[in-house]
Amino acid sequence: MIPLSWYLILAAALFCIGFYGVLARRNAVVILMSVELMLNAVNINLVAFWRYLNPNDISGQVFAIIVFAVAAAEVAVGLALVISLYRNRKTISVDEVDLMKW
């Protein structure tokens, strides 16, 4: 069988790639995609913990499903804001959205 550590390292690497994407990219849509990657990394961890440490308690899966719901809500509102931003400012580059600085 696969050791638990493989899953955890893979999830950590995926999380870090998403983290880099969030910090480095300028395009708001890609930032949201990177957030999805991070949430998926978390989900891998949750399910791996459920499977390896406590497989006969269903709460690990329930938690993962709640993460699904949260991810969907986040993406729906996030993209709606991006579209609204584009409509008003004609850009979705987060570098140029600096109204709050004034």
Binding site: R26, V47, I58, A69, Y86
Partner: protein
């Protein structure tokens, strides 16, 4: 090396490659398609973890809905011409350093945790995990409150997203 391990390594490599391509492509649609590959890989991991229901909803929700939503959003915003030339902001180098540092730290911290050494899981006793899931969602000593709160959260996201995305009528 068992067969399952080879499958895992292959899928894991595919996920990381796809994730990296996703954050480094300048073409936004390509980014979204690489995201789909990565998400599909995660679904395969769920299968390996014997969480079939999660694998299926991973495909249904992420590939069927979220990826489509992403591509629609890309099309609606047309992409900045500028961002095709330099796709990262000026902190990209620092972000890479911080990401690598984070990965390093995570692996170190995880390595000191005793459960990190777990190699083989116990068998799942439940005959039908999906049924257990359904019971857990609605039984009073289970997850009734999260179940209802999830629907309220979705309602809030629904209304909020429509309010934000829908163009205002004049005088509103």
């Amino acid at each position: 090396m068992s067969t399952v391990q080879i499958v895992f390594l292959f899928v894991g490599f595919m996920i990381l490659l796809a994730a990296w391509m996703m954050v480094s492509r300048s073409n936004l649609v390509h980014s979204a398609l690489w995201l789909v590959v990565a998400l599909f890989g995660v679904a395969v991991l769920f299968v390996l973890l014997e969480a079939g229901y999660l694998a299926v909803i991973q495909v249904l929700v992420y590939i069927g809905a979220i990826a489509i939503l992403m591509i629609f959003a890309v099309m609606l915003t047309r992409g900045d011409v500028e961002s095709l030339t330099h796709i990262t902001n000026r902190y990209a180098g620092w972000a890479a350093v911080m990401g690598a540092f984070l990965l390093f730290g995570l692996v170190i911290v995880l390595g000191q945790w005793p459960a990190f050494q777990t190699t083989s899981p116990e068998a799942i006793e439940s005959a039908n995990p999906v049924l257990d899931l359904g019971m857990a969602f609605v039984s009073p000593d289970g997850f009734t409150v999260p179940f209802i709160v999830a629907s309220v959260l979705l309602l809030a996201a629904f209304i909020g997203a429509i309010y934000a995305a829908f163009p205002r009528k004049k005088g509103e």
